[in-house]
Point group: C2
Chain length 339, copies 2
Amino acid sequence: MTSILDVAKKAGVSPTTAKRAVNQPHLLTKATLERVQTAIEFLNYEPDRTAGALRRGHSQTIGLMVGNIIEPFFAQLTRTIAKAVHAKGYALIVADNEYDTSLELENLRMFHGQRVSGLIIRSAFGTGNLEYLRRLHQQGTYILEIDHFLPESGFSHIMLDNHGGVETGLRYLHNLGHRKIAALTVFEAHQDERARAYTEIMTDLGLKIPKAYQRSTDLTEEGAYRRTLELLRLPEPPTAIFSMTGNEAAGAFRALKEQHIRIPEDISFLTFDDYSWTSLVEPPLDVITQPIQTMGLRAAELVIGAIERRQLNQTHLERFACRLITRSSCAAPRSHSLH
Amino acid sequence: MTSILDVAKKAGVSPTTAKRAVNQPHLLTKATLERVQTAIEFLNYEPDRTAGALRRGHSQTIGLMVGNIIEPFFAQLTRTIAKAVHAKGYALIVADNEYDTSLELENLRMFHGQRVSGLIIRSAFGTGNLEYLRRLHQQGTYILEIDHFLPESGFSHIMLDNHGGVETGLRYLHNLGHRKIAALTVFEAHQDERARAYTEIMTDLGLKIPKAYQRSTDLTEEGAYRRTLELLRLPEPPTAIFSMTGNEAAGAFRALKEQHIRIPEDISFLTFDDYSWTSLVEPPLDVITQPIQTMGLRAAELVIGAIERRQLNQTHLERFACRLITRSSCAAPRSHSLH
DNA sequence: ATTTTGAATGGACACGTGTCCATTTTTGTT
DNA sequence: AACAAAAATGGACACGTGTCCATTCAAAAT
């Protein structure tokens, strides 16, 4: 492997000077700089980041832990972040936790081993790994939570305005006349902001949430499919279903179609995430869209900014607004005329 | 940062012995091993992979370069590969080339800088970076091409049986009575296997491909949308459209819907990739599905196997079969009855 | 011509690990 | 009990970089 020493020898300068051609070119004479650059190109020299990482104590590397990279939300986030950190000379190491704490821990260890400078994480529910994250932070890794954050973690985070989004959606459905509105989400231990907002706002609207509506999905397409079938079998099925993620929406929509439920005549359907397919199906779905790209860019910006300015303890808490896009999957419930 | 020296001191053994507790535990007495392990847990020691990488000359890291991580094909591939390499103790560094040679080169440099042990790449069209890849390989990085390979690259690759898949699809459409079959793909310079197969098999079937059918998309949803509109405006529009990727299918389907083309009555539609949405739209699409998981797992297996057995020059060329799933988007063309 | 200043270049060392070889301890054999 | 053999443990060094300090050189000021 060619190192800076080879470059220095080739250019006839000291190793220190050669390194400056890479890191602080302004310190060199134009002539010297050119000589070294020629040598670099001739030898195809590429600085060894692993050596730099060892010396500095942390690598030019950002870890990204997502829930499930197959979900377009995370895929798009990954892509945006990857591009942004590459532009700053960092590499992105990716892992997903499948919303599972123990798998997450394994991957956190891996990130630790790689001495990532920063960590962008959509952590699994539960505070199981909070202690580990705290230690990571203490050892110099900047940590940014995204899409979800652990209560009292104290880390920076980038969140959607989930309460606002759910409120927009629920008021939209309520104004159409819906009273029996079910949500597909995770209710357990009030960990999910959207679930909390759903509970709160339903109450604000004077609506009761039947016990039967309060069962959770597991955030998978398959789980939402099963959960939707359960809702349909209820003696009093909902007149509207509000899916809290685009991933679950696919499962729910499949169930509705299979059961020949007409949308929106029989049931109105609303979901978070403006995935490409939602406008291709019949009827095109009403969605609440997130500014994924903006959030991803900001995440990369915050993390790299904190690293380069060595402000590891500075906390940023940011919220981003979402937007309702109405298409054709929500309408007044049939029963509404009876009121 | 706590190092193995701290562990050794804490456990009252030499650094070498402490390291063995991590790397070759079978060499230690049960008592010693336990003592060291206790110290490791107490100190939350995690080996510094950057130091190991420096020493060994390459990191415990695999690079993955995909075309566009937002496409479910690549997202699923990424996930499968990530999981498989994590299980072997490797980290996965992800980048996408957006099918662009110069962006790819930037990311290859980044991979080189990180001293990745292996590289799984869906390279951009064109041989622009072949030389760089060859150098990487020469310097000890195992290279595996996936989904597409550069002619005469000499690297290992994992490919779909593209010819078989296209043949299955075209014969299926031909048997239904279609003669004017257009393909959405990249024709330029015969770089894409599916485009080549389309050209060959159409000839085998005794069918002519009009000049107007031979224009390329840019592999994006948007590009396929525009290309489909062009096809529809033709004086003799095709009776069947065969989309060579699931990504393009979304754009094409959108165009067909917007133009109120009835599928399959007006035009039959067939596509590669069994994406989730293809069975949710009306009509559910006939698709050719790829064994993405199998291919991803095999890719990880080959790369890590070659690295660990230090057989960097061993070449594996593997092909995987695909399968036609018929749903409701293909039927006999209307004109067929006139024959 | 001499001194002063700042710019440009060079040298030495440590980061934590893996590898190789040396030394000590234990076990088995007679 | 004495020795050989094997098992267990220890020590020294290099990987390529970033950082700090030292040295040399050129230009400006006297």
